[in-house]
Every structure is written in C-alpha cells, then in structure tokens.
Symmetry: C2
Subunit: 146 residues, 2 copies
Amino acid sequence: MVKLQEKESTISDSEWEAMRIIWTLEPVSSTKIIQELQAKKNWSESTIKTLLRRLVKKNLLSTKKEGRRFVYTAKVNQTQVMAEAAQELLNRMCDMHKGEVLLQLIANSPISKSDLSKIKEIIATKEKDAPYMVPCNCLPGNEKMC
Amino acid sequence: MVKLQEKESTISDSEWEAMRIIWTLEPVSSTKIIQELQAKKNWSESTIKTLLRRLVKKNLLSTKKEGRRFVYTAKVNQTQVMAEAAQELLNRMCDMHKGEVLLQLIANSPISKSDLSKIKEIIATKEKDAPYMVPCNCLPGNEKMC
DNA sequence: CATCAAAGTTTACAAATGTAAATTTAAAGT
DNA sequence: ACTTTAAATTTACATTTGTAAACTTTGATG
C-alpha cells in the first residue's frame, strides 16, 4: 500500500502572499514574483527565494527551468485551498457560534450577485431541517449547551 | 498617548483547544482543564500547563489562586475571537473567491434557524448593491480579473 | 572561451509552537 | 511543625516560520 497524500501541508502567512501572486500570474518566473511581492512587502530577494523553495518542497508549486530562471506553477487550486484553510479553522471552533461568525464574515466580505443568490439557495435548503439551537461541542463527552 | 491593545495575540491550534474548554467551563481549575483536555488529546499534564501559562502571558486568560490550584477565566469573548480569527484568515485571501468559500462554509456548518434567518437578512441587504463580479485583489497595483 | 551578472542554493538565526521532563513550592494531613 | 504530594515553575528541545546574508552556479556577452 502506498501513502498517497502525506497530510496536506499548511501554507504559512508569508507563503500565502507568494501563492496569491502565482495563482494570479502563473506560469510566472521567479523574477516576476520577486518584483510583484516587493511591490507589496518589504522582503529581500533572498527571503522570497526561500519562500518559493519551501513551497516547492511542500509540493504546492511546480517548477520548470527556462533559461537561467525558474518558472513556477501552482499545483493546487486556489479556491479549494482557500476553502480548505477556512474550513479547517472553523473545524477547530465551537459549533454553537459558527452561525454568528459566518454572519459577520458575510457582512464584511465583498460577494458577487451570483454568489449571493447561490448562498440564498443553500440557506433555503438548510432552513428546512435546521435546529433551533446548535449545541456547543467543546467538551469531549457530553455536548452541553454552554 | 497610551498603547492600548498591543496587537491581539494569536491563538495557536493547541492553545485553541484549551481555550474551548475554558470558555465552556469558566471559571475552571487547572485540574479540571487537564482532565477535560486529556479526555480529548494525548497531552501530558506538563504540556497542558505550558499551554495555560502561555495563554496567561498572552493575556487571554486571567487566574486566581484558589487553595493549591489556579482557577482560570477567559479575558476575551469566544464568538468575537472566533470571528476575528476567521476574518483575519479571509483578509489574507483573494476577494474574488470569498463568495464561493463562504458558500462552502455555510453548506458544511451546522447553523440554527435563527442564525439562518439573520443571514438571509444580510444577504437581502447586500444584494441591493452587490457587484456582478468581485475583482481579484492579489496583485499590488492593477486589480485585474484573474 | 573568459568574465560578469543574475539566479539559485546553503547556511543562519530568532521567535513561535508542540511537546514534555525535571525541579521547586506550598497546601494539607498527621 | 513535618512530611507528603499535588500543583506550579523551569528548563528543554525539535520543528516551523519569518527573514536574510553569504556563497555557488550558469546563461549571456564581449
């Protein structure tokens, strides 16, 4: 039996910044990435190269040598990685307050008309058998209302 | 001028686990926290004490000595901390895909009837002047559609 | 082909985190 | 008061992350 997915590597804050550039411009050269990132962050060339190498090692980027420089491409889908990261965060939190949290996120995020109507749809679906209260699940045994 | 909030300290994964117990049971003794956490995680007593001490240092918990043990209380509001953490995560991500991400979060989270209807309300409000598309904001200068 | 400059690789180092053993302190019982 | 021992504090150590200097390689150019 072969170990396929070694537990999806986490993306650190700085790495995330680099990934965004790559997702937007891929396939993109190291030089271009450095240029774009330096327009935003006070990072040395060296720092950015380190980030890129770590991302390759984490298997989130693939590279192809082109002349003297590398060209990077993302190996993972942006929206999916975003959703996974957000989901993982929520998974570590108390069920009881997720509704309120999502409420705030929606209020503070720019959302397109089409996404809004999709959201309306799931809301409608969920409403059918939504509970009156979502119990706290912070304790191991008894899920008590906290 | 006084520096009031020194940049709210981040809560690490393990620390989060401890905070959940405390938010649920506060005021709660070290002993009880250790007992509850060990019912969930394979952590030594020592490890848990370290977590608690770090949380106190981060100013997220306050303590009161009671007999031979400490009693802990959270100094921060759970829902608020949850919302802030989630918001900060989203802030580091591409605007263009936040709608889709929220869609998935809503689909996968247990939400009460009342929270659902509150969400419906903001959705309705937002729909009025929602854009047809939310542009990608991953590059420093030109916000291009990616 | 020799040299330079750009790009990549190594090494570095402090802070934060996960995890815990060893040691000290002090409450409680005798 | 003295001992026991639960609880707190110190010390520890590896890994990840943020950040970067130093060094090496290699494509390009004279």
